[in-house]
Amino acid sequence: MTTTPAKDTAHTAAALALGDDALVLSHRLGEWAGHAPVLEEEVALANIALDLLGQARVLLSMAGDEDELAYLREERAFRNLQLVEQPNGDFAHTIARQLYFSSHQYLLYGELAAGDGPFAPLAGKAVKEIAYHRDHAEQWTLRLGDGTEESHTRMQRAVDALWRYTGEMFQPVEGLDVDWPALEAAWLERLTEVLVRATLTVPDGPRTGAWAAGAGRQGLHTEPFGRVLAEMQHLHRSHPGATW
C-alpha cells in the first residue's frame, strides 16, 4: 500500500477517523492473544488484528507521523468510534463488535475504493481483507446464535449490549464523500439477514443518543478507552524522543 499525504484538513480528519478505528480495534483484538477459545481463533483474531494495524499505519501516515499520532495524543484527540474501544467481554461480545464493525467497514471501504478520492488505493486493498473479517464474524454469529442455549443467550446479550454504539457508524465524516443513509440501509439489511439466520432477534433499542451519536468522532469516548491508551502509550511516553 502506498502512503499519500492528505492534501487538506478534511482529508486529514477523515484519515484520523478511519485510522483510529483500525488502530483501536486492532489493539483490542491483540488483547486476545493467548486467551482464544480454540487455537484456530488465536490465528484468526491475530490475523484480523494485523490487517487492521496495517490499515491504521497507512491511514495515520496520511495524517502525520504514525507513532506520534498513536502514542502522543490524549484521549480527547482520538477520533475512533466508541464501538471499537469497547472491551472484549466474552467471545460473543468480541464477535458482535466484529460483526457490526466489519460489515460497516466493508460497505464503506467498498464505496471509497470505487471513488477517486485519496483513500481509494488503500480501500481497494483493504476491502479484500475486510471481506474475510466480515465472513469470520458472520460465521461465528451463526454458530453462536444457533449453537447451544448458552451460546444463543450470550450472543443475544452481546448484540443487544453493543447495539447502542452502531448509530455512530453512519454519522457523516468530514472528508468522506459517502451516501451515509444508503450505507446504513445496506448495513441493516445484511445484518438483519444474518441475525435472523442465527435465530437471534434484531435489537430494537436506540442506536443514537446524547453520547452515542458521533461522540467518538468528536473525541468523546467511554471510560474503558482511557485505560487502553494508558497501556498502549505508557512505554513510548516513558522514553521521550527514543527510537525503537
Binding site: 486467551h35 460465521q139 497501556e231 498502549m232 525503537w244
Partner: protein
C-alpha cells in the same frame, strides 16, 4: 535428584527421549524393515509400521513441542498491548500468531500418530505433559521481547534445524516450515536489541538487563549434560535426535558470542573465552539446581502460565460446544461450521 516426571520433562528442553524404548530383540520382518528404513535415512510415514516405543516417544516429543509453542505465546503476548511503536507491534503480533500456527502444525503432526489434540491438551492442562521450562521465566521489560527472539528462538533453532531431518516424515516436514519462521523471529529479536543497544542509555541498560536474565536459562534449553541425559541414545539410534545436548549447547554458545559483541552487549559469564585447542568458546558452569527446580514447577511463572492456559480453555468451552452443536444441526447445511 530429579523426580521421574521432571526427568521425563527434560525431553521438552532438548526434544530428548523418554524411557521405555526397549524391545530391540524382537526382530520381526516389520521391525527389520523399519530399522532398515531408518538406517538408510528414509522417512517413516504415518501408515508405516513402527515400534510402539518409537510412536510413544514421538507423541511425547511432538506434544511437548506443540505445548511449548502455545504456552510460549504468553510471555510475548504480555507486551503486544505495550509495544512502543506500531512497527514493533505489528512484528510482535505476527510472531505470536506464528507460534499459534506452529502449535497447529505440531498438533496435526501428533494426530498422524493416533492421538487427538484434545487428549494432548488435557495432558498439558493436568500437568501430565510438559512444555519447555524457558517459558516459566517472566518478561519484565520490552527488551525481554528482543532477548527471547535472539536467545530463546536462537536456541530453539539450534535444536530444531536437525529435526528437519528427523526420521518421522510429518514431524520433519512441519519442522522445515517452522524453522523458516523461527529464523525470522530470531532476526527480529536481534534487530530489536540492536536498536535498544544503540539507543538511549536507558534503552541500552534495558537490553543488557534482559540479556543478563535470559542467557543462562537459554543455555539450559538444551537439556541436562550428556552424561546425565538418560534418554538420548535410543533417540539418536532412531534418528529422531541427531546431536547430543552438549554438542548443540556448544554450537549455540559459539554462535552467540560474536553476535553479542556486534550488539554491543555482554554475556553474563566471566568464564567465556575462546579455546584455541578445542576451536570453541569455553563457558562457565550451569546452575543445574535451578534447572531441575524450574522443571519441577518452582519457576517464577509455572503456576501462572498453566493457570492462564487452563482458564482460556475453560472459558472457551461454551464456544467449542456451540460450534459442535451448530455443526451437528447443519451437518448437510451451507453455513460452513468447521470444527467440533
Amino acid at each position: 535428584m530429579a523426580t521421574a516426571a521432571a526427568r521425563e520433562t527434560a525431553g521438552s528442553q532438548a526434544y530428548d527421549v523418554p524411557d521405555g524404548a526397549g524391545d530391540t530383540t524382537d526382530t520381526t520382518g516389520y521391525e527389520r524393515a523399519f530399522d532398515a528404513a531408518v538406517a538408510a535415512d528414509e522417512r517413516i510415514e504415518p501408515r508405516d509400521w513402527m515400534p510402539d516405543a518409537y510412536r510413544a516417544t514421538l507423541v511425547r516429543q511432538i506434544a511437548q513441542h506443540a505445548h511449548s509453542e502455545i504456552i510460549g505465546m504468553q510471555p510475548e503476548a504480555n507486551w503486544i498491548t505495550r509495544a512502543p511503536s506500531l512497527r514493533r507491534k505489528a512484528i510482535l503480533m505476527a510472531k505470536v500468531q506464528d507460534e499459534a500456527g506452529h502449535g497447529l502444525y505440531l498438533y496435526s503432526a501428533a494426530e498422524t500418530l493416533g492421538v487427538s489434540r484434545d487428549e494432548l491438551l488435557d495432558k498439558l492442562h493436568s500437568g501430565r505433559q510438559k512444555y519447555s521450562s524457558i517459558f516459566n521465566y517472566p518478561t519484565l521489560t520490552w527488551a525481554d521481547v528482543g532477548a527471547i527472539g535472539w536467545l530463546v528462538d536462537g536456541a530453539a533453532i539450534t535444536n530444531q534445524v536437525p529435526l528437519c531431518r528427523c526420521s518421522y516424515g510429518p514431524y520433519a516436514r512441519a519442522m522445515v516450515r517452522i524453522c523458516k519462521e523461527e529464523s525470522f523471529h530470531q532476526r527480529q529479536g536481534y534487530e530489536l536489541l540492536l536498536a535498544l543497544s544503540r539507543g538511549t542509555p536507558e534503552q541500552h541498560a534495558m537490553a543488557q538487563d534482559a540479556v543478563d536474565r535470559w542467557w543462562w536459562p537459554s543455555l539450559m534449553m538444551f537439556g541436562p549434560p550428556d552424561d546425565e541425559s538418560q534418554h538420548s541414545a535410543q533417540s539418536m539410534a532412531w534418528k529422531i535426535k541427531r546431536h547430543s545436548n552438549d554438542e548443540l549447547r556448544q554450537r549455540f554458545v559459539d554462535i552467540c558470542v560474536p553476535q553479542a559483541a556486534s550488539l554491543g552487549l555482554t554475556l553474563p559469564d566471566p568464564d567465556l573465552k575462546w579455546n584455541e585447542e578445542r576451536g570453541h568458546y569455553d563457558f562457565g558452569p550451569i546452575d543445574w539446581t535451578e534447572f531441575w527446580d524450574v522443571l519441577k514447577g518452582n519457576g517464577p511463572c509455572n503456576e501462572q502460565r498453566l493457570t492462564r492456559r487452563r482458564q482460556a480453555h475453560e472459558e472457551g468451552a461454551w464456544v467449542r460446544e456451540a460450534a459442535a452443536a451448530h455443526a451437528a444441526k447443519h451437518s448437510n447445511g451451507e453455513t460452513g461450521a468447521t470444527r467440533a
